[in-house]
Amino acid sequence: MNNIKTVTFIAILTLFISCLNNSYAGEYELNTDTDRDIRKEYKAFKDHHLKDIHSFKFFKYKKDDKTIYVSFPLPIIIYCQGNLDVFMSSKFYNSKNKRVEHKIDDRVYKIDYHEHIIARNTLGEPLSIVDLSITKNVVFILLAFFIMFFVFGKMAKSYKSNPIPRGIGRFLEPIVLYIRDDIARPNIGEKHYKRYMSFLLTVFFFIWFVNLFGLTPLGSNVTNSIAVTASLAILTYLITTFTANKNYWGHIFWMPGVPTPMKIILAPIELLGTIIKPFSLMIRLYANMTAGHVVLMSILGLIFIFQNWLGGTLSFGLAFALALLELLVCALQAYIFTMLSALYFGAAVEEHHHEEH
């Protein structure tokens, strides 16, 4: 089993490295050499780093009065009018950094500056597409999935032979136990906490790993896209709605222990509250991570505005300190998401307390 895993890892690694090519991918669309407007260049730099793009862009260098961009294109998968088209994103650029159209049968695809894919007929009418392409965010989500799958699978199997884990399990076991004993059990109660443990563990480690990937040099900020956080929040909402018992719905629609006119007023507010709580989960995670990255990018951009020794050093020091704070924020946001999800699950399966007068 170990041999197969090593061989797979080395095969995937060589596959990636062999696909690296000097593709002249169109990048920031600047007039580079003549007047460098710092603000426009910085805006392009920031957008490039915080957006979700269809290739891995590594670096660029100048050679004989031409700039050469080194990047690694990712496949694009589009479902349009019953046809599934798969092609690499380098087909969208020709050898002179210009964006070109890519034609398949009678569908013409084009990519615009904001990395959206537009499809038209040969007659020029727009078509509707379902864009399933593998972008940078998807690659890092898959990477987090693989890491979690292999690491936790190995850890779970090692519990059969001896109860004390070895290797990475020694670091992860206290965290898993903390989630079970301090997040799940106090909030959900002894009877039902085991049903929700798998979701809580997955959500915690997924958000933590994906946030950590966003801090690495090539990493992409997955939680920067509101779609990812929205899907996590929708999962929490669906689980609370479908595993709730009658007491939960009773508390929402007909809250006990409250006079009748108040009950009629409270019902729509409580109903709205069931949607607003996962919505606030989504906004909290998205806003925290995006704000952190935007501030980091801004302070790094200050280096280019100052352009002297003192300003550059101070800006870099401040950016370094803020990046260290970002590490704490990554773990904290994962913990807060998990804790609030556990609270909502606990409210959903609460048993009936008799009113005491």
Binding site: D182, S280, I283, R284, Y286, A287, N288, A291, L332, Q333, Y335, I336, M339, L340
Partner: protein
């Protein structure tokens, strides 16, 4: 960017700052009274701070 929106954003941040400051203050006070409950108090403080920060961010992003 209109001026009332920016002023509103600033007020929200002031409110969030005051709220989290008060939570931190009372948490410290409670920890000084009963040092053995430090872990639990820290946990509750972080949860309350995150909730308030959530509102702050939501208002900032709705600018």
């Amino acid at each position: 960017m209109e001026i009332p929106a920016i002023v509103g954003g600033g007020l929200v941040v002031i409110g969030a700052g005051i709220g989290i400051g008060r939570i931190g203050g009372s948490a410290l006070e409670a920890m000084a009274r009963q040092p053995e409950l430090t872990g639990k108090i820290q946990t509750v403080m972080l949860i309350a701070a995150a909730l308030i920060e959530g509102i702050g961010f939501a208002a900032l992003f709705a600018l």
